[in-house]
């Protein structure tokens, strides 16, 4: 076993980024959404999954990040200019959300959200009632498209009681909807979200295929210095905890250095961002 030196000054966003990067699988087609996915996916590609292909909705196909010292910075968002260099193809949104996504070629979509429920349904449109929201949000962009059509979904969002709710205020992006078999009944592929990276840890879903199990989210691993009790307290429903609860491995020095080389302004990585 190779000994690893852990970073001691990483930010929460960096920890989330690395935890997310470790969830990506080699050889997969990975769709990057807004925010941290634009850093976590290239980090994973550079360190762990060299044969994964990275995509964004605007039309970027198979982006290969170049040497950060040449690139200067990584993408700050899904149509940032560094994505134009080193891509295999620059097409359009019909290529991407149509042929690529609806055509069934996206293995993992990597998304953010504002609110999530126990079945992994996301809401990115409003907090409160849609007709009279307490807070109107930006809308879905490609979030709905990816949640409906990608084979698997990885979700990143802050862990707060008002965000981890029994039922989201508006299902913009379907998870397992009402439980086992729901996706199939609604005409979707059965497999939905498989991982949630929150600000407190890593959560998974009790199902292999969308039909079996409870399809409920459970706590699989906590971040360093976070207890399962804290995670349960910050979750509005009675969150189940894995019998084999793990702790998320902190980022290594190498991972943090590489991450910061992609986000030298600490636009996404700064402390307090999440």
């Amino acid at each position: 076993m190779v000994s690893k030196s852990y970073a001691d000054d990483y930010t929460l966003a960096e920890l989330m980024c690395i935890a997310a990067a470790r969830e990506l699988r080699d050889g997969e087609n990975i769709f990057m959404g807004l925010g941290l996915p634009c850093l976590a996916a290239p980090i994973a590609k550079m360190l762990y999954v060299p044969n994964a292909q990275l995509f964004t909705e605007v039309g970027v196909f198979d982006w290969v990040p170049t040497d950060p010292t040449v690139m200067g910075r990584g993408p700050m968002h899904i149509f940032d200019l560094p994505l134009n260099v080193g891509s295999a193809m620059l097409g359009d949104m019909l290529d991407q959300l149509g042929a690529m996504m609806m055509g069934g070629h996206v293995d993992t979509a990597f998304l953010g959200g504002a609110q999530i429920d126990k079945f992994g349904n996301l809401n990115t449109i409003c907090l409160g009632d849609y007709h009279h929201p307490t807070r109107r949000l930006g809308g879905v962009g490609g979030n709905t498209d990816a949640a409906c059509l990608a084979k698997k979904v990885i979700i990143i969002l802050p862990h707060e009681r008002r965000r981890f709710v029994e039922r989201v205020d508006f299902v913009t992006s379907p998870g397992y909807i009402d439980g086992p078999g729901s996706r199939r009944r609604h005409g979707l592929q059965p497999q939905g979200p498989n991982v949630v990276i929150s600000t407190l840890g890593v959560l998974r879903f009790d199902t292999q295929d969308g039909d079996s199990g409870t399809c409920e989210m459970y706590l699989d691993a906590t971040f360093p210095n976070v207890s399962a009790a804290t995670v349960k307290e910050m979750t509005s429903w009675d969150l189940q905890v894995s019998n084999a609860l793990k702790q998320v491995e902190p980022p290594s020095v190498e991972e943090v250095i590489l991450l910061r080389s992609l986000d030298p302004l600490m636009f996404h990585l700064r402390e307090g961002r999440y």
Binding site: D92, M93, M102, N143, T144, D145, C148, R183
Partner: protein, 320 residues
Amino acid sequence: MPRNKCMSAEEAISQFVSDGDITYIGYNNLPQALCHEIIRQQKKNLTLVGASVQELAAPLYITGCATRTLTGYIGGAVGGTLVTELMDTGQLQFEDYSNQALTMMFLAGALGIPFIPTLVFLGTDFLSEKCINHPGGWLKEQKYKVSQCPFTGEQVVLLPALKPDVALMAAQRADEEGNIQVWGPLGDSKWALWAAKKVIVSVEEIVPTEVIRSDPNRTIVPSFKVSAVIHEPFGAHPWPMTGYYDIDLGFRAGAVNLYSDIEAFRKFIDEWVYGVKNRREYLEHYVDRFGYGALQAIMAKPPIQPTGTISYGYVPHLSV
């Protein structure tokens, strides 16, 4: 002789944008200069459409130029309370879709078919009565419909075709005839431009038609679709233009709270929109305020050009 479609932004907006028009304003390659001209001419009751209507829409809502939007993402525009207040009070009507849905609706418009099926929205609350008949909207039952494939019986969602009255875009270059060339990812622009009745494009450079015709794969719509070409360097500023300039973060940092504080907004608009006659004056004002160095700092450098060459060669005199 092909018609020369070059004109000023003032002439183009005056001639081709009418009050009440359904107006596309880009996803990327954002036509910021053209949107400022719309504000200067105080157009009214526009409906802004696009996969994601970006932050440059916010000033159009707040000034009342646009009173409706139909989009997958209101995004940056709702970062501040001024726009959400307009939504709350019904002064800005909205219909929420997704990026894919809008692109498909443009595609249907471009193809001349009345509707198009998608698998997006299945299993979501978008299909609920509550969403379809929401008080902030106007489409009601015309928004979309759940149906079955007539061949397989599979569930699908039918989206109506969308044909903008006018599409605005910023692009890298064009010839005087209006053959528009763009590089970088295209977002929803190609199908929005094809679907639109009129197309107005600001370009960084006007080039001889021979330049366009030496690399025709880069043209996204042919000239007959285009009504006006405006030579407008930095036409997307403070947003980026592939190969020309990057996002101007310094300028953006000076514009915080713009969409939450009406006084800050008015001051900004007075200075950068009403205070200048056109983009040339905007740039002169920019250089006066921040120095030429600030503009230089966002210019793309060094150029990153394709390596290797491509050829469109063929055999001119085939023999049998």
